[in-house]
Amino acid sequence: MKLKSRLHPPLGVLFFLFAFSIPVFAEAANPEVTNASVTTGWQMTWPAGALMLLLLFTAFFAMTKYEVPLPLAMTLVSLAFLVIQWKSAPLILREGFGHYADITVLFTAVAVPAHMIERSQGFKWVAAWLGHQLGKIRLRRPRLTIPLLVAILLLATFVTAGLMHNVTSILIMTPVIIRLCASYQVPSRWILSAGLIASNLGGFSTRWGDTPNIIESATWGLSAGDFVREVLPANLIVVFVLIVVATILTQRGMARRSRQAGTAQVPFYTLQVAQTAADWKKAKADLAIDRRLLTIGLSLLVFFIVLHVIFKDLAIAIGAITIITCVLLERKSSRYHTLTSLGFDVYLAFAAIFVLAGCVSHSWIGATLYQQLIAAKAAPWVIAVTGYFGTTFTEAASWATAVSHSIHELDPSHAAAWALGGGICAGSSSLVTAASAGIILAEESQRFKDPEHAITFQRYLAFGLPFSLFMLVFYGTYFTIFR
């Protein structure tokens, strides 16, 4: 009950803002939906919309409080939504799977080589090297340690998310952040929370870095160069602010910890730091790097990224070639494992999210939001605000799927795509349950069985909500100015 009472006020505030925004933007207008059968019926009434929102909130609550796995919760919710759709269900199911089809190949083409690199222990080697170098810096210039640690970890998360998708990035970086922070007794809470936002920002910076980007690229015909020229500069500004905020909070955490420990100095402090640095060196020496996996994974990841950027129309074929080559070059006994390295639950979760998105867009919720966008003439800041709340209350990929075609019809300019992406990126960063990466962060950090490192709904909220609102204001302003 204690948890319940803590959870409800912030959700209540967000819901209030969401509900409040409706009459502000809304003017009567009819949504243009191609099929007449889905524009009428009970699913287009507000009680159906309210029921859908209730089901979604229940799923988020179950995932947070009772640790119900995301694929299970989302699958049940999407099936319940199909029941609400009733006779329109077959059409929406086909539409949802239509959007999902491209993602299956493109996401797998990045994930398979990325998992090969991860299995080769290449990332662990880099983390051990980093741990050793940080120890040296801590011995030479102790004051530089925290800013450097925060900057390196967040930039590494940002870059890996940009190259390998934000979900892969958070999977790789969470244990690295926890181990590095634990070894040097640095509070991990703010760095882990900021890491989730850095992964969202990295994902938003490349065409293939996040599922909403893949959807938006297909809808608006965006190239990789468009992302680099028009989105990356904005995201680099946000990353810089993120590093500064996380550094200040981590330093304050260190100071608070010192105050709680009293004035007594840590015994043999210098020796402890040197010993930790030496331990990282030993950890690096003990690692068995699978050079074959590392070489194949790296080469094919570069192959896919470069070629699908150059030959945009052949992206699916290039993705297929990447997957086939990865599997064939893998050892015979591991081929099936490599092909299924993402796991059935990931595909199940994605399928559920896309079906869920189809149901949301063909419901009272979708129609209401569409009316708001028409009323505001698809102004970037309105797109960003609806993207923010839509993502917070549904999920990043599902929101992008649900609204990208409608927004593109209203405003085919890049600014609309970036505003939608910005709103989704900020929304994904608001709650730990707002995107798949957040759920993974919560699960991975709690695996260490240490409350110091566990990122729960409440522990994230204090960082995520204010920073995501800053992101929303920033993107709303930035994409209004730089159209």
């Binding site: 120890g135 070894s183 040197a274 030496a278 331990d279 060196k281 030993k282 950890a283 068995a288």
Partner: protein
């Protein structure tokens, strides 16, 4: 003094990796925290390396410069480690040795020339373990196989005198299933893992 071969469970806390001291001192020299032989001695005392401390006291009394003193204890400790490891490996000669994966890559190279080695991989789902053809895979198969072994080598983490290993490794090391007289050799890793559990051993544990 540190004798990895005679480390009984009750003596676990006293074990100190003196070779590890060399890396620590080397870092302190590199970062200019150690400038004299007295500094070397100070950090060695803090570390708790008795063998090196005795040696350094003599060198300090003889006014030996820091770099020479470091070289001297470095050679001394490495020779000691070599002798310990050699006697440990000699004791494993022609014995049935089970190497429980995951292990660092250099460990199998030590045992393969002298013993009848069997690789055991209790956690089949661990895709990070080095690839070994012909390894016995799966918890049940490994638990059956260890009953034929004379020596078991495994990776562990030590904290406050207690040993922790991956849950799948701990399952294989359960005292009830191990044959009497089996020798356990642990390679210590410097960090804990999320899936680590404390292991209770009825037999003595040596360290490599």
């Amino acid at each position: 003094m540190d004798d990895p071969q005679t480390t009984l469970p009750e003596k676990k806390a006293a074990v100190k990796d003196e070779i590890g001291l060399l890396d620590v001192l080397s870092l302190l020299i590199e970062t200019e925290k150690v400038k004299t032989t007295s500094d070397l001695l100070k950090y060695t005392i803090q570390y708790g390396a008795v063998e090196a401390e005795e040696r350094l006291r003599v060198l300090e009394a003889e006014n030996i410069p820091m770099d020479l003193a470091f070289d001297a204890i470095s050679v001394h400790l490495r020779v000691l480690e070599y002798k310990r490891n050699s006697s440990l490996l000699a004791a494993c000669k022609d014995k049935k040795v089970g190497l429980i994966l995951p292990l660092p890559p250099h460990l199998p190279d030590l045992f393969l020339p002298v013993a009848k080695v069997t690789f055991l991989q209790p956690d089949e789902t661990d895709t990070h373990t080095m690839h070994v053809e012909g390894a016995v895979k799966g918890g049940r198969a490994c638990r059956a196989k260890v009953q034929e072994m004379d020596v078991l080598v495994f990776e562990a983490f030590r904290e406050a005198g207690e040993l922790f290993a991956d849950v799948s490794v701990a399952d294989v090391l359960e005292p009830k299933i191990l044959p009497p007289g089996i020798r356990l050799i642990a390679h210590l890793r410097p960090h804990s893992n999320p899936k680590d559990v404390e292991i209770q051993t009825a037999t003595e544990v040596s360290y490599l």
